[in-house]
Amino acid sequence: MSVSSPVEALAASAPEEGAPIGIGARRVVRLPPVGVLVAGTVLVLIVLAALVPQLLARQDALAVDLHHVLAAPSGRHWLGTDENGRDVYTRLVYGAHTSLWLGFGAVAIGLVVGSVLGVAAGLGARWLDLVLMRLVDVGLAFPEILLALVVIAVLGGGTANALIAIGVAGIPSYARLVRAQTLTLRRAQFVESARALGVSRVGVVVRHVVPNAVRPVVVLATIGVGTAAVAGAALSFLGLGTPPPDPEWGSMLSTARNYVGNAWWYSVFPGLAITLLVCSTTVVGRHLQRRLEGRRA
């Protein structure tokens, strides 16, 4: 369940800033590398599936067909059927909504709350920084999935609660990251210049510190989307996320594991979907990060 957290990702990426992907990559800078294009396409498809599933799948994700249970992939059922005769492809397409919703929603919670706490700690009084960061330390001491489970234990299961749980679990890492950025910016020349030019304290914070502190974190958060989606899948896998019969990749995988010996397609495709989502968000996120850092340098 270990998936890289955005914080580690930033640290690891720093020394490699601007490294070329392939020979000649630097010369045709405008066009992103093939890998990024592929990942981007996958991501666009997944987003499309989440927003307008009926565009990609014509069947009913909940339609039970007891005469075609665990049917192998065919012209009618591209990715086969599940234990209730439901079309696996259609369920994957409709399940994208939940997975992405979990991914983006959870990241949004983590990012917004984490940024507020991070900026407050970075700019606030010393005691506030001390208190907030010790709390963050406690949060960081637990693996995110464990924190999410604790939140679920309090709130109960379901998609919305799973989203909150994963979001809350992500807060500490974002808070820590934003605080670090804020501390650096606080003493940056352009901030001090702005102050010297007579811009108000609030003006400096709003116009200079917050945008510059949060922007790199936002890009990194795209990578977090994949992580959060996997966490959501894991919660559903444990029966704590999306309740049946609604399709969700993690819960599909969870049920499918009982039929690995009968129907390989049932477990392989939901697993592949999760893998693709994580890979493509990671690749695209990294690319964006590289572009951004390049510009800054």
């Binding site: 690891a12 007891l66 704590l240 594991r257 990671t282």
Partner: protein, 547 residues
């Protein structure tokens, strides 16, 4: 940077694999051989059991189905049930029942010696009854099964006269179940606190050790010479010992027997039975369990299921035959009534329950649910016809049934919401009556299960937890099941239970689904796989391993 990316990919891929588990399918296609040859002694049998690991091994303090397999090796019971649903001597060699059904005189078998050296006598039986009813035992099942027990008088060393406070026709039946096993009287008297962790009985195997979360070990009891009737041999058991391993995950347990890590498993996933048939190294056996079939109970105490027409409509709208076939891959039989055919006093000719969605829709119209809302669900007085099912996620097949019922009744305009809860939450809601549908099964070797499940006396109240899950309250049924449990005339009892079963079809307090069998898979080196008829539990006394 790349490393980080690869790590994410690897993590995601590993997650996928991990979550999906790895399974090896069985090959081959040889027919199963029944040629078992001559039994030989020796060897330790490795058993794979599911996660129903109890917190105690005191039989009188247990209640879950799969714990019976842990008790049969160590303990004997007072009477033994035969495949013909009759009761024969085990630790009691004979008994007399008074005409009024209030006095049972047990004549005990002579020469029985417990694993701690103590001898079997009338005082010992009396101590066992008292241990069951002792509040300190906290018996969840055995105590209620012998609730009519008043007191007993020792007539001589081997004769005990038991007095009941009211006639109870299922008394002998329940005495054949492992939950009413006979514990060493010496242990009850001198060190009752040790029963939980080191039980002592008079059965064919002695308890050795219990590594919690992992396994329980037993070794042969060499003095054993009082095998129950119907056993294939006499004297001590063939096996040197038994090791029962707890393997929670269905697919992992099944793969363990395929790989030879264990010799025999219970609770074979039904979807894996075809693999057993195709594997020349494995065999399968199954035994149907007596009692109430696996069902979805309606909460009849509030709307919408307080209306019998709505309940009947739901039962008619579900193609139970097809559902059971789908979920069990053809391995389970559909239940056609409220007790299973292997239960004493089962009546085969009660009205059958047929799949009839047209009639279902008609019933709902009659009940006033004739309008439909924008989503196609029926409404009455502005209220949608909907019900909540609480899923504790204990069993994948139960969740699947819930989804299939949900899809089936949607066709007649009834909405079912599946609410997932933790087992603790779910049982709290069950006690409080916060549900419309609840799934379950009750295994017991007497039609008295109808009294347990449907007598209005057994509806849970703030003072007392009862087992009438559907909260059914019907005067006619109450009378039938009450008289059936009190009569001493077996013909009258059978007739009363027949009427009760027919009445239940009319009342439709549940959707009866399937008769749960004990599906066992074992290696071809295992022979003499047998079950008891009182519960359908595996018994290892006649089991042996070929070299």
């Amino acid at each position: 940077m790349k490393k980080q990316f690869l790590a994410s990919v690897a993590a995601a891929a590993a997650l996928t694999l991990l979550l999906a588990g790895c399974s090896g399918g069985g090959g081959g296609g040889q027919p199963q051989s029944a040629d078992d040859g001559k039994p030989v002694s020796g060897g330790v049998l490795n058993v794979g059991e599911n996660s129903d690991e109890p917190t105690t091994l005191d039989p009188h303090a247990l209640s879950t189905t799969n714990t019976t397999i842990l008790l049969r090796p160590v303990f004997d019971t007072l009477v033994w049930e035969t495949p013909k649903k009759t009761f024969e001597p085990d630790l009691a060699s004979s008994w007399d029942v008074s005409k009024d059904g209030l006095t049972y005189t047990f004549h005990l078998r002579k020469g029985v010696v417990f694993q701690d050296g103590s001898t079997w006598d009338a005082e010992g039986l009396k101590l066992n009854f008292e241990h069951i009813l002792d509040p300190a035992t906290k018996s969840p099942l055995a105590a209620s099964y012998i609730a009519p027990y008043k007191d007993s008088t020792v007539i001589d060393d081997h004769t005990l006269e038991v007095h009941l406070s009211y006639p109870y026709s299922a008394f002998l039946n329940v005495l054949a179940q492992s939950y009413l096993s006979i514990i060493s009287p010496k242990q009850i008297k001198e060190s009752p606190e040790t029963i939980d962790t080191h039980p002592i009985g008079s059965g064919p195997f002695e308890f050795v050790t219990w590594v919690k979360g992992q396994y329980i070990e037993y070794k042969r009891y060499d003095k054993y010479d009082w095998a129950p009737p119907g056993s294939a041999h006499k004297g001590p058991a063939y096996l040197d010992g038994i090791k029962i391993n707890f393997i929670a995950e269905d697919s992992v347990r099944f793969n363990a027997v395929g790989a030879g890590d264990v010799d025999i498993i219970e609770n074979t996933p039904p979807q894996s039975v075809a693999q057993v048939k195709g594997n020349p190294d494995l065999r399968s056996a199954s035994k149907e369990r007596p009692g109430h079939p696996f069902s979805f109970w309606f909460n009849t105490s509030h709307a919408p299921f307080d209306d019998v027409r709505v309940r009947q409509a739901i039962v008619d709208a579900v193609d139970r035959e097809q559902l059971v076939k789908t979920v069990s891959f053809g391995q389970w039989k559909t239940a056609n009534g409220y007790i299973t055919p292997v239960t004493p006093d089962y009546a085969a000719n009660t009205a059958t329950i047929a799949y009839d969605p047209k009639k279902a829709a008609q019933l709902l119209d009659e009940a006033g649910w004739s309008q439909k809302d924008a989503d196609g669900y029926r409404v009455k007085d502005g209220k949608q016809l909907s019900a909540t099912y609480i899923d504790a996620g204990v069993n994948p097949q139960t969740t699947q049934f819930a989804q299939l019922i949900q899809a089936a009744v949607k066709k007649i305009g009834v909405k079912v919401d599946i609410r997932q809860e933790t087992p603790t939450q779910a049982s709290a809601d069950a006690v409080a009556g916060n549900f419309d549908l609840s799934a379950g099964i009750w295994t017991t070797n007497t039609a008295d299960v109808l009294w347990i499940q449907y007598s209005s006396q057994n509806i849970t109240t703030p003072q007392r937890q009862g087992q009438n899950t559907s909260r059914l309250s019907d005067a006619k049924l109450d009378d039938l099941v009450q008289r059936a449990r009190e009569t001493t005339d077996s013909k009258e009892r059978a007739s009363l239970y027949e009427q009760a079963q027919a009445r239940l079809v009319e009342l439709a307090p549940a959707i009866p689904l399937y008769i749960r069998p004990d599906l066992v898979t074992y290696d071809t080196k295992v022979h003499g796989v047998t079950f008891d008829d009182a519960y359908g539990a595996l018994v290892f006394y006649d089991t042996w391993l070929s070299r």
